[in-house]
């Protein structure tokens, strides 16, 4: 009898605690959403294995994630692009994975964020590892992991307190993340790293939209700018232009030889990043050389009025509404150039 009583008490109090926890976080502005994690990426990557010649795969860094809106693209062309870009990562290992491990013969759009694209081909370097680890996970994931993720989707879509993003944001609300926000004076007298708040939402198709708060809360937007400056501070390894271009060109040739199409896209940047990129990775020495050697269609935002008419919110990414417009403008350019299919008219 004793254990029955304890069980009922545990069940009632446990449910009350969990409900209170959920309501508390909802009252703090949290809502049920998905995490950008390796499971969602792998689920999306699986679509490439069954993709047709008309399909489009998006690779690149966070600028492709934020700026190319999947629903808008689908609305305009009837084709839902497969979003495989990874924040803070070079697109090279993902493109390499598509070239080497699939029969895909459609279009791959490769976003070129200079600081990441030209960073490295060293497999242990963070920009490479972040992307490659997801491809490796896709190859090695077990049936149990697939099942776990399928079961987690309705929970993530129903409960606000579930937050376990790969990025480990400062405002994640799992127990480990909450404990990590406790700041005591460091034993090294080092300043604590500035907090990096999640400033976007992601859906089941990996479509990312910048949070509206970035437009309404200057302090919040400035916290992201502070993080960019923090990431760029200190000694950084120099870009490895020759190796990265050679690696990409080899894959691009292999991919186009089997009938695939590669399109390069340079997304907008402003302020701090624009200065950094134009000084450290000047267009003529990096982008132009890449385009010349790759010999594939390439779009630099500065060359198109319709792509340069935007101001990035925190020097690097577009707001959700601007991203819709940017996507629409970019799709129109690609359609005019006859590079992608419009199922709605064909």
């Amino acid at each position: 009898m004793k254990i029955k009583t304890s069980f009922i008490i545990a069940l009632v109090i446990g449910l009350l605690c969990i409900t209170s926890w959920e309501l508390y976080w909802r009252s703090q502005g949290y809502f049920p959403d998905l995490d950008d994690d390796k499971y969602l990426w792998a689920r999306t990557r699986a679509k490439v294995d069954n993709a047709s010649k008309d399909d489009v795969v998006l690779t690149g860094s966070s600028r492709v994630l934020f700026n190319i809106q999947v629903p808008k693209w689908k609305e305009l062309t009837g084709i839902q692009p497969i979003q495989l870009a990874n924040a803070g990562a070079t697109p090279l290992p993902v493109f390499h994975d598509i070239v080497e491990n699939t029969d895909f013969k459609g279009t791959v759009i490769v976003g070129v964020t200079p600081g990441l694209f030209f960073s490295t081909t060293f497999e242990q370097a963070p920009p490479w590892r972040r992307a490659a680890s997801r491809s490796e996970f896709y190859d090695n994931r077990t049936y149990a992991q697939r099942l776990n993720y399928a079961l987690s989707i309705p929970l993530q879509n129903s409960l606000a307190f579930i937050s376990n993003d790969d990025e480990k944001w400062h405002d994640d609300i799992n127990l480990k993340a909450l404990l990590n926000t406790i700041e005591w004076a460091d034993r090294n007298d080092r300043a604590n790293d500035p907090p990096f708040y999640r400033f976007q939402d992601i859906d089941i198709n990996r479509n990312v939209r910048m949070k509206n708060r970035m437009l309404t809360d200057t302090t919040f937007a400035n916290s992201v700018k502070t993080i960019w400056k923090f990431f760029m501070s200190g000694d950084k390894p120099p870009p490895d232009k020759d190796s990265t271009i050679a690696f990409f060109v080899e894959d691009a040739k292999k991919f186009t030889a089997r009938g695939g199409q590669v399109i390069l896209l340079r997304n907008p940047s402003d302020g701090f990043f624009k200065d950094l990129e134009s000084k450290g990775l000047p267009r003529d020495k990096f982008w132009e050389e890449l385009v010349a050697k790759a010999n594939v269609p390439a779009y630099h935002y500065q060359d198109y009025k319709s792509l340069s008419a935007f101001e990035t919110v925190e020097w690097s990414h577009l707001s959700a509404s601007d991203a819709d417009q940017f996507t629409e403008n970019f799709v129109h350019i690609l359609l005019e150039d006859g590079l992608i299919t419009n199922l709605k008219t064909n």
């Binding site: 004793k2 254990i3 029955k4 009583t5 304890s6 069980f7 009922i8 008490i9 545990a10 069940l11 009632v12 109090i13 446990g14 605690c17 969990i18 926890w21 077990t142 049936y143 149990a144 992991q145 099942l147 776990n148 079961l151 987690s152 929970l155 307190f161 579930i162 937050s163 376990n164 609300i173 799992n174 127990l175 480990k176 404990l179 406790i182 700041e183 005591w184 004076a185 460091d186 034993r187 090294n188």
Partner: protein, 471 residues
Amino acid sequence: MLFNSLSFIVFLVIVLALYYSKIFNWTNKKRMLLLASYVFYGLWNPPLVVLLWISTIVDWTAGNKLAVETNQRKRKLWLMLSLFVNLGFLAFFKYRDFLLDNFTAAVNSYGYGYEAQPMDIILPMGISFYTFQTMSYTIDMYKRKTERARTFLDFALYVTFFPQLVAGPIVRAQDLITQFYEEKKASVNQFLWGVFLLTIGLFQKVVLADTLLADTSDKVFGSQKILNTLDAWTGTLAFSGQIFFDFAGYSTCAIGIALMLGIILPDNFKYPYASIGFSDLWRRWHITLSTWLRDYLYIPLGGNRFGIARMYAALMITMLLGGLWHGAAWTFVIWGALHGLYLIIERMLRSKIHIKINAFNGIILALLTYIMVNFTWVFFRAREFSVAKNMLSSMLFLNDEGEKIIATFDVFKVFVLISFLFISHWLMRNTSLKAVSLKISPVVLGIFWALMLFLIVISQGSGEQFIYFQF
């Protein structure tokens, strides 16, 4: 499939519903459990279920022959077949690259330029556990210590029973197969006690090991720097807690899940960090492995029957092989060697010094044992000897200028948690969870249970692997 995953919750609910439904008789319930166990294993890597089948068929056949064969030479051959297949699997899947690397290093030390091709063979989850379990059946059959399993189904379920398939407890045939002969059904109290144990196990794994300790341990042992003494100790203590909560958590889950089905599994841990001495430690840590090694290795090697020197040799060989059982690396061998050495020194001291244990000197000796155990954990956790060397020198106050990489709060968190772990082991040393739970008020137990449930839910573990799955 992992106990700390959503798919397992669904799996367990389905298994329990079928098990307690009236649509199956006992034989069909066992068939359902067997099929469920293959699904449990196969959802990780389906082709490797074949290894389980081979082990099952070979040992079932060998057991049947050993039961009726009277010719001693033929009996030995049947035993050898079983050992060859099971140890062959282990050698091929677990030790091949280790043996090849050492062979290559030895050959090249004579000036040959030999280069071996690593095969990158996947290590079947829990292979060390189920091969040891199934070998115990044929060895016991050979020694006529156990009865032949009545049916193939009973035997196959013994090899594959999902709660303890991939990380133990390693159960002897006579303790588990016989439970399958009669229909088993948990009473309501047994079932709820099983749910309680499952909750405690998940709490240990998800909250204590993964959420509170793993990051500190990973950061320290992943660092290539020479560390400050406090950082080195914090990382090692964090690992000592992590591995206990991870492994004891798994065992507690396994025991709880089996109990929900009305099946009793043996205890695998009895508050080991309050052990007084190393003989005591091995009676409390991973009990089913240490008794396996005692019965099938230490005693056959002579045990204490042939004098002191032979006993020490048997102890050392047993612990060295016990180390190697955990992983195919020299760091694990050193871990085993240290434990062997500790056991030998303890036996030497015991024959000369006689201490009457009381509460005061007991806790001091337990603390001393725990500190000594922590030095062995350094070799268990470090992937390279250079890391182990740096860690040990830092722990021994030899690196005054070592780097501080652990934040103040994390140092505090680890020391509080490990102090709590040690004290709770000391207080629980001569009792059991069941006995304590019967003494406390059901309301307090219920609140404690609710708190564990709540912390498990808000921790949101990512469902990654238990440490012992790799062994």
